[in-house]
């Protein structure tokens, strides 16, 4: 019999999730059947059966794939740019203070306030990608900067006493140190990317989950609305899960 500490913890943890989610779903189904919240909250079963109908299935999948590609490209662009800019502040210290202020300010700007600007600069078609990229950019940028700040001062001393160049210090000391918080940032970025893509689609994009959600809201297509929302959730959930897996498998291998 194997009773290590880890698996037991894992099982009880998983049990908590299953119980919590199960309760939520049951509650939902009951609330839907009894229409506690009116027509707006249909029972889960009716949402699922609606989404499985061929016509709505096709519509949902088409929209989801558009949003997914927007979110994915946005995620890639945003994380690379966020990472690069955070590093540039490290290489050229005079820039750092300004970068910090810029980041806190830009981070505070509501994404939706950037819509009017983006449709002019990048066009309505690319706005979802741009908002996704921006949303990811903020998360990753902040995470990487946080990681740099956590470089132990012992290492700082190593850098100084050995006269290591900024560039090498970044590659060999600071970046490896910031890696865990970079991946943490990427994990949060998964949901930011989906959020950004959906928000961006509200500014006149031709198709996508965001478009679907708004039109379903306006035309009272409740089942469609919920299915689209579920797809969006699943998308960010998968992203989160993949990155969490990466974090668990990759980081230990790199000595974390």
């Amino acid at each position: 019999m194997y009773v290590g500490t880890c698996p037991v913890n894992f099982i009880s943890e998983a049990l908590k999730w299953v119980v919590g989610l199960g309760m939520l779903f049951v509650l939902w189904e009951v609330a839907g059947q009894q229409s506690w919240l009116g027509k707006a909250l249909p029972p889960l079963s009716s949402i699922v059966s609606y989404a499985m109908e061929p016509r709505s299935y096709e519509l949902l999948m088409r929209s989801a794939s558009i949003t997914a590609s927007n979110a994915l490209y946005g995620f890639l662009i945003g994380s690379i740019v966020g990472w690069a800019i955070a590093c540039s502040g490290q290489i050229w210290p005079p820039m750092k203070k300004g970068l910090d202020t810029l980041s806190t300010f830009v981070n505070a700007i509501p994404l939706i306030a950037l819509g009017p600007l983006l449709i002019v600069t990048v066009g309505e078609q690319s706005t979802p990608m741009a908002t996704a990229a921006l949303a990811v950019f903020f998360t990753v940028f902040v995470a990487v900067l946080g990681g740099f700040e956590r470089v132990p001062s012992v290492h700082d001393d190593v850098i100084r006493t050995y006269g290591v160049t900024r560039w090498r210090a970044l590659c060999f000391i600071e970046f490896p140190n910031a890696l865990p918080s970079l991946i943490d940032g990427l994990k949060l970025g998964a949901s930011s990317a989906v959020l950004g893509a959906i928000l961006g689609e509200w500014f006149g994009a031709p198709a996508g989950l965001g478009v679907l959600i708004v039109s379903a809201m306006q035309n009272f297509q409740i089942n469609l609305l919920w299915s689209a929302a579920f797809l969006g959730t699943a998308m960010s959930g998968i992203g989160f899960f993949v990155l969490a897996l990466l974090q668990q498998k990759l980081l230990p291998r790199l000595g974390w």
């Binding site: 908590k16 919590g20 300004g98 810029l102 806190t104 700007i109 969006g232």
Partner: protein, 256 residues
């Protein structure tokens, strides 16, 4: 003296100046009409010319956002208190809070609109809902993170440190020690609360900055739409700055 402070401002805020410069450059190089993309002056002029109007709308948005934030905080705090006395509650709620963190909730405002109906109260509900989970998580972990020495000290006075019988411990030790955590939650949430309020107004509202943004755009008053966006950003930054200040100020007093 003047030069020194100028260079200090420059080193701190060059990013902001750069953004404004780029914006101006973009408008003049492309020779854009105000209807497509207004220049910085046009936006500021519009803000000044309609100062009363904008002030009223901004106040409305601010009130909604801070009201929702306050309600979410209250709810999160109360439920965290209950969880502290009855740990099984946190067993169910904590996984849900984690799950919700990976869901792009803001994108699902339309659903809440459908459930709760059009109107300001819906905006309030959404903001409350969104603030609830982070406040809950931060508050609860604050309650639970009382250092062992402090717990020992309380035990040695015959004061129970858990459950209902520990309410004195809770009131005098656990609750105050969660204050920095709650301030952090507020700091992180303040811009989000504003974003949610704006998004809700944008989609359904009949007033508020989010509504102005979309209304002015459909009226072809681009300068007005951008002015609303700019004002919303400024508000958000202000929220962030205020809460960061509070956070910093009080966190200091919580370090022994």
């Amino acid at each position: 003296m003047v030069r020194q402070s100028l260079s200090r401002i420059w080193s701190r805020y060059w990013g902001i100046f750069l953004l404004v410069g780029l914006w101006q450059l973009f408008v003049s190089v492309n020779n854009l009409n105000t209807i497509v993309a207004p220049s910085p002056q046009a936006v500021v002029l519009s803000l000044l010319n309609n100062a009363d109007y904008f002030a009223a709308e901004a106040l409305r948005t601010t009130l909604t956002a801070s009201g929702g934030l306050a309600l979410g905080l209250l709810l999160g705090f109360v439920i965290a208190c209950l969880s502290w006395t009855a740990p099984s509650l946190s067993g169910v709620l904590t996984p849900m809070a984690l799950l919700i963190r990976s869901i792009p909730i803001v994108a699902f405002v339309p659903i809440i609109v459908r459930v709760a109906g059009y109107g300001t109260h819906t905006v309030l509900i959404v903001t409350t809902f969104l603030s609830f989970f982070p406040c809950y998580v931060f508050a609860l972990s604050g309650f639970q993170e009382v250092a062992q020495v402090r717990k020992d000290f309380c035990c040695s006075l015959g004061c129970s440190t858990s459950g209902f019988r520990g309410w004195r411990f809770f009131r005098h030790v656990a609750m105050p020690s969660a204050v920095p955590n709650i301030l952090t939650a507020l700091r992180l949430l303040a811009p989000t609360a504003l974003l949610v309020a704006l998004v809700a107004e944008f989609l359904i509202g009949t007033d508020g900055l989010g509504y102005v943004m979309i209304r002015a755009r459909s009226d072809m008053e681009m300068d007005k739409s951008w002015a609303a966006a700019l004002l919303a950003s400024a508000l958000s930054v202000l929220f962030f700055v205020i809460f960061s200040y509070l956070d910093k100020k009080y966190r200091n007093n919580w370090q022994a």
